[in-house]
């Protein structure tokens, strides 16, 4: 049980970081960057390549994260801004960000080959044993980093001018622009931070998955599912979705059967989308609505019995 909790939270933290990146870009620009998973992959591949060239693991990780961050900004300027500039209300970004995802995965396969490469062990070699369950320092770090990311985001959002600017742009971009907000810079920063989160997630998961050019699809989809569970409107909610997805993944494998993680989390997503279409944590309203539905169902049941 404890092992499920540890493993679920650790992988959930990675899903959550990817989901938070999705939400971060959406929060400011109302665009979902479908190349988010490929930014994670870029971080993993660059870290592995720099490390295999003989650089220390920390330096390699910094290079990987920097690549993903720069990649995030590049996605905005190359694939999002041009299509929004032509028609702000079109969904052309859907195709253009998917295009970037294909370019990144294929490019990585051409540069590094299609098969897996070794990734530095980092802190995955150090394990703590707690009540019969094992958790690596790398996994603990993943959870700590995920929580720190949420904390940082909330502090910036609530206490800084940049955060308030992002909120203003998110609520009404034209108005924010009219009063002098630099919407272009804010959007580029949002995409850069999204890339940073994906890059960090890549460095955290790399020792387990190794470096493979097609990792982006796996983590992009998992991150998107986490986003749907938690809610797209708030990056912190997306992180919560990640933790839930991680726990569902591991719990399903442990308590149902070893293949249940293939379908069980998606069942939950369908249920969430039916009961709380905006996600479980996108607003307190969703939870209140769920409670209200639950109570009214109970009341109807009592009345029937009476």
């Amino acid at each position: 049980m404890l092992q499920v909790l540890f493993s679920g939270l650790a992988i959930g933290a990675v899903y959550g970081l990817v989901a938070m990146g999705f939400a971060m870009a959406f929060y400011v620009t109302r665009v979902i960057n479908f190349a988010q998973g490929q930014l994670l992959m870029a971080s993993v591949m660059v870290t592995a390549a720099v490390s295999s060239a003989g650089a220390p693991a920390v330096l390699a990780a910094v290079a990987g994260i920097a690549t993903a961050t720069a990649g995030g900004v590049a996605v905005y300027f190359l694939a999002v801004r041009p299509v929004l500039a032509f028609d702000r209300f079109s969904f052309a970004w859907l195709v253009s960000t998917l295009g970037v995802a294909i370019v990144l995965a294929t490019g990585a396969a051409i540069i590094w080959g299609p098969t897996s490469r070794a990734f530095p062990t980092m802190l995955n070699g150090h394990t703590l044993h707690i009540a019969g369950a094992g958790v690596t320092v790398q996994e603990l770090l993943a959870v700590v980093v995920a929580l720190a990311a949420v904390l940082c985001f909330e502090v910036v959002r609530r206490r800084t001018l940049l955060g308030k600017l992002a909120m203003a742009i998110s609520a009404d971009p034209e108005m924010a622009s009219a009063v002098g907000a630099n919407t272009r810079t804010a959007a580029a920063v949002a995409f850069g931070v999204a890339g940073l989160l994906a890059g960090v997630a890549g460095v955290l998961i790399g020792p387990i998955t190794f470096a493979n050019p097609y990792l982006g699809d796996t983590y992009g989809i998992a991150g998107f599912v986490a986003l749907m569970i938690g809610g797209i409107e708030k990056p912190a909610a997306a992180m919560a979705g990640g933790f839930i997805l991680g726990l569902l993944d591991q719990g399903a494998n442990h308590f149902i059967n070893s293949q249940a993680s293939d379908w069980f989390p998606f069942l939950i997503v369908v249920a969430v989308l039916l009961l709380a279409p905006s996600g479980l944590f996108s607003s307190t309203e969703a939870i209140v609505n769920l409670r209200r539905r639950f109570h009214s169902a109970l009341r109807a049941d009592w009345q029937q019995q009476a």
């Binding site: 694939a79 299509v83 970037v100 098969t115 044993h129 369950a133 971009p173 990792l215």
Partner: protein
Amino acid sequence: MFPATPRLRSAAARRQLHAATLLTASALALTACAGSSGSSGSRGGGGGKSDGGTILVGEIAGTTGAYGTTGQAMVNAGQLAIDDINAAGGVLGKKLSFQWYNDNASATTSSQLFRKLVSAGAVAIAGSGDTGPTTAAESDRAKIPNIGAVDDGGLTVYPNGPDKPPYAWVFDTGLNTFAWGGAIAKYALEHCKGLAVLHDPSSYGLGGEAGIKMVYEAGGKKLALDEAITENWSTGATVGLKSEINKIKQSGADCVDVWLTPQDQASFVQEAKSLGVKLTVFGNDETDADATFSDLAKDDADGVISALLTTEVHPNAKLTEFQQRYQQRFNVASTPFAEATYDAMLMLRDAIKSANSTKAADLQKAFNAITDFDGLTGRLSFTEQKHTTIGVEQLTMVKFNKTTKKWEPLS
């Protein structure tokens, strides 16, 4: 970022849109380009169809994905064999042409490619290592020989079980899951108190499981744990093996056969070490087929046991010469999958010669009659009931030594 729409319907905005369109187009072009390195492979120098001048041989292999190195080795060897046959004058006075495609481990793609090759007039199709169940079924439908490494033999060739008839049109020279499972089970019967098996749920994993059970249960023992895990075949990586390792520990098994991708096998030995769980870990035919597993697992690969073709452990002059030529030409070491594919192509040449025909029905008869073909992977035979060439008796148990970084024979 959010300029008003009317104002931005300007030349500048159009330029930006064109840039984005260019990006999307280049994405598609890049994908097509990457695919072509594995998929447009008309490399045999022939015109394609089995017309008056050439005889077309096709190959489908997953040159990307979890088993990408295996697929590439099969393509390399196919090309090498066709070139060797043509250099020696071809068959029946005709040169062979070669077309290969990357199925990207997709059954749908594989099915489409198989039909494409059949339409192009291929007399036989080699592979696929990744989507063997699809190519085997397609060969049965089209009634055309499917040769070489078709998945990894086992249940892919004998879909109704090892004691039932095989697919009539599949002639598998690749590594055989029944043989590997049987060899590992035989070793486990003698050296383990309890054996657990983790396998993927595809015909590959189920073939390994069937091979293990066949021998292990005949030895009077039952598996301590038998679990299927869905793997990610694009990356080979499945997160979350700690829970499985704890289950194995609780089952009382001291040995486990991790019948998963080399990536997951590497992850398994790392996770087991991090949990402090000591198990004798067995692999499968892919574990030691190339360096993927040992490169990823590094020192944690030490002590992992698998089986290897005896011809690989004690190579004869013919195999050594092939391995040197392969290394020189492709700048990468040969693998058993390459050698099995090379054997298949030469067996096809012999079948065409002995049938004096390229008609599918004639080739089927000729393949069924091949006896003691002197191949790189041993002396190979087919009969109407036996459509895999590799058996337990052709294998030697090996163990990875981290000091020498080699698979060394156990006895």
